[in-house]
Subunit: 255 residues, 2 copies
DNA sequence: ATTGACTTTCACGTTACGTGATAGTTTACT
DNA sequence: AGTAAACTATCACGTAACGTGAAAGTCAAT
């Protein structure tokens, strides 16, 4: 009952390439091949594959798995303990990193609160909001049994998509801004289109839009040199121009 | 005050190769070079390098760091939250693996138990006695005979290594708890991490996990003064805080 | 002028495959 | 039997973040 490679792959839930790879590195070579060079896996081969996949799930490197498989009297118990120690160490390091990033986040929150002056309250509040608070409840209600981590994964998947779209939007914004700047008029159609694009871009990180917050952000752009440097890099005096366009767009200024 | 590469490397605690690499991928190129092609780093370059290393310590991939560095408008706060989510997910996966390997080890031990008669017999007996004397009754009453028996069985099969690992876990739990308590929020990531750690610690003596049992145990902690004394010794009011964290963790309470 | 410390640019090795590209083989169907 | 679909084979490059030489040129001190 020899099986060809795809059947084995499907059976074990791995890719054909994986089996090729295991053959390449001498981890699992089928004990028969047809004269055309096709790999034929025996039942025994399948058992070994199961073993391999078992260890792989426990995050053993293939090299170690090879050692274990190739010498049946290898002390599996000791190896397990050793592997667990390594995993524990790994998690310890991971925990340290998480603690550090949590501290940083706390710190950033503190900084942002200090510079808050009530004008951009809505804006900053949203920025400060913890995603856990934001989505936690809703997700819990919807998915019930699922852990917070899993829910976070879903959120992350969304935000990555959003992130791609955001980059595209930003690029479009710059192009628009450049063309609009050539008109010299922040009230021009092109400039207003740029302001609209900017709003669209914002909406990826804002949950609600308000003209006030948008106008406020525009003002902040001009005040904060990091922003001016960023926008002016693409278009000379782009920051001021964009601000004016946004002020008109939000009705805070006459064209 | 331009510096040559080795000086910069020593100053920052990285290898020369690393700086070469950062130059190669366009992450950090010195803004001056001698005519012989020597890289000369300015103060500004050093500052950027610090930034890079900061993000690197938080496990950001270099690609992301490059994006962040190149655009000041990039929302660092959101990026931090996102990165934390990824780290948390990573840790979750790691935890699953650790749990799996622990189970495997327990299983192997069960098999070995039949053939190899106890080496740490005295030690184990003492642990059992202790456990029984201290909490035996309550646990029995609340969670039934079965849980206790399997728990004891686990204790019996426990080796020195396990015991060491358990102590270590406990230590980590206290550290986490301390930090979490500082946040004041039992729903915070740190507090939830502490709850997760507590669960993991439990898994060394529980054969099966259920949210109910975990939550119940947390309640018991607060009621039983022996436990409160134990946890409060490390962190003031730590018991109540830990209970709340666990209740949220097990979904028995809203954050 | 020599030497040792330092610098440069290749370029391969690491982990566990993914992803084509190109070509030969087997199976199914008309 | 002929052909197309499905399968298989062997390269071989790409990934992340550098480590580790190798060969050759540069700089500073003796």
């Amino acid at each position: 009952m020899k099986r060809k490679i795809k059947e084995v792959a499907d059976l074990a839930g791995v890719s054909v390439r994986t089996l090729h790879h295991y053959d390449e590195i001498g981890l699992l070579s089928p004990d028969t091949t047809t004269e055309a060079g096709y790999r034929l896996y025996s039942e025994k081969n399948l058992e070994v594959l199961q073993q391999i996949l078992f260890f792989r799930e426990l995050d053993f490197p293939l090299k170690k798995i090879k050692e274990i498989i190739n010498s049946p009297d290898f002390d599996r118990y000791q190896v397990m303990l050793q592997q667990r120690d390594q995993l524990l160490e790994k998690r310890y390091r991971l925990d340290q990193i998480i603690i550090a990033i949590n501290k940083t986040i706390q710190h950033m929150k503190g900084e942002m609160e200090m510079t808050t002056e009530g004008k951009f309250e809505a804006f900053k509040e949203r920025m400060l909001e913890d995603n856990e608070q934001k989505y936690g409840k809703e997700i819990r209600e919807k998915y019930g049994e699922e852990t917070v981590e899993t829910s976070n994964a879903k959120w992350r998947g969304m935000s990555q998509q959003d992130y791609q779209a955001m980059l595209r939007l930003e690029q479009e914004l710059f192009e628009l801004l450049e063309q609009a700047y050539a008109t010299g008029d922040p009230g021009s159609d092109l400039a207003q289109a740029a302001a609209a694009k900017h709003k669209e871009w914002l909406m990826y990180s804002w949950s609600e839009y308000s003209k006030e917050a948008h106008a406020g952000l525009a003002e902040m752009y001009v005040t904060d040199e990091r922003f001016t440097a960023y926008y002016d890099k693409h278009v000379k005096d782009g920051t001021v121009f964009l601000r004016d366009a946004i002020l008109i767009y939000t009705g805070k200024k006459e064209s």
